[in-house]
């Protein structure tokens, strides 16, 4: 699957690594729901680090859409919440 880190670029992550990312994503979700800035920051950092570790950066000429998108590395909780309330982020 293709994962994009906003402001950084796209990574190809093997399907077999999906559960590992999913776990970190769930943690991140919890911190957003719980409105916990510090926990959010570290959960986001952990997720990004894992994507970088597991994934392979896509070459510049790949021109493909991403399956998953991760907020900017230095995104704040409020900023992320505001972004999530924009069109396209609400529901399925």
């Amino acid at each position: 699957m293709i994962v994009r880190i906003l402001g950084e670029g796209q990574f190809e992550v093997a399907e077999s690594d999906r559960p590992s990312l999913h776990e970190l994503e769930t943690t991140l979700d919890t911190t957003i729901e719980g409105d916990d800035e510090a926990a959010f920051t570290s959960a986001l950092a952990a997720l990004i680090a894992e994507v970088r570790r597991l994934g392979t950066p896509l070459p510049a000429d790949s021109f493909t859409s991403s399956d998953r998108v991760i907020p900017f590395e230095d995104a704040g909780l409020d900023e992320t919440k505001a972004l999530l309330s924009e069109p396209g982020g609400d529901d399925h």
């Binding site: 979700d29 510049a60 021109f63 998108v69 982020g89």
Partner: protein, 256 residues
């Protein structure tokens, strides 16, 4: 739904706005390329804006640091003239500048980070522009109409997503600059006319007192020199009272 999927939906929505709905998929390649070039220009302009904001903060920090250094020097001068009260006052004012300086340093760091990220975004986009320019021609030449529909559609979505990402980066940098501009404006006013400059203005009160002490010392020294001069002419009269050049220079006898 997880945050990564939701973010993907949001980027998709932003991206859809960027997409030109061209009838001919080949035509959409050219349109996308055009958009990509415009996008790159936008990011470059944003880099320039961020750099300007950074320079402004640097200038303010330099001015503020200059004032802090000056107060430090005044404290030293005051101590040298045995005016601990003045030294204390100068140091107190210097300490009051510290939080402002720290704030400027934080802002500088933030804006420098933004600058770096945007430069990286511009570089990535430039690479994509170059790659896309070649690829779109290859695609136009190779694909059959049926293939073109899907493959080109895919490539166009992909490139639009990159533009969407870059657009968000630019917006983000702009927001940061805007909030900083307001603070920078306030700081400029403070530096130009407000409390900060008055503290270390050449004619500020600390300096005025120091100057006075120093002027008094100079007068004393000059007077002593004159007396000494006269003393050589008439040692009997003055020599006894003023055996050497007196040294009240460091003794600060200015009126309180």
């Amino acid at each position: 739904m997880g945050v990564m999927k939701r973010m993907s939906g949001i980027l998709q929505a932003k991206t859809n706005k960027l997409l030109d709905k061209a009838e001919d998929p080949r035509e959409s390649l050219d349109l996308s390329y055009q958009k990509l070039l415009e996008n790159l220009q936008k990011v470059r302009r944003s880099v320039a804006d961020v750099t300007t904001a950074k320079k402004r903060i640097e200038l303010q920090a330099t001015q503020l640091q200059g004032q802090a250094d000056k107060l430090q020097q005044q404290a030293k001068d005051a101590l040298a003239q045995n005016r601990e009260d003045l030294a204390r006052e100068a140091l107190a004012r210097r300490a009051a500048l510290a939080p402002q300086l720290a704030d400027l340093q934080t802002q500088h760091q933030q804006v420098a980070t933004q600058e770096q990220k945007l430069i990286a975004t511009a570089q990535n986009l430039q690479t994509q522009v170059d790659a896309f320019r070649t690829k779109k021609e290859t695609m136009k030449a190779t694909y059959t109409a049926a293939e073109a529909q899907t493959k080109i559609g895919e490539a166009v979505s992909g490139i639009s997503e990159s533009m969407g990402d870059a657009g968000m980066s630019v917006q983000r940098a702009q927001d940061k600059i805007d909030s900083m501009q307001a603070r920078a404006g306030a700081m400029d006013e403070l530096l130009a006319s407000g409390a900060l400059t008055d503290l270390t203005n050449p004619v500020d009160d600390i300096q005025a007192q120091l100057d006075q002490v120093s002027a008094t010392s100079t007068v004393d020294a000059d007077l002593a020199a004159l007396k000494a001069e006269l003393g050589t002419a008439a040692p009997a009269q003055l020599g006894a009272a003023e055996p050497t050049v007196p040294a009240p220079a460091d003794q600060g006898e200015a009126p309180a």
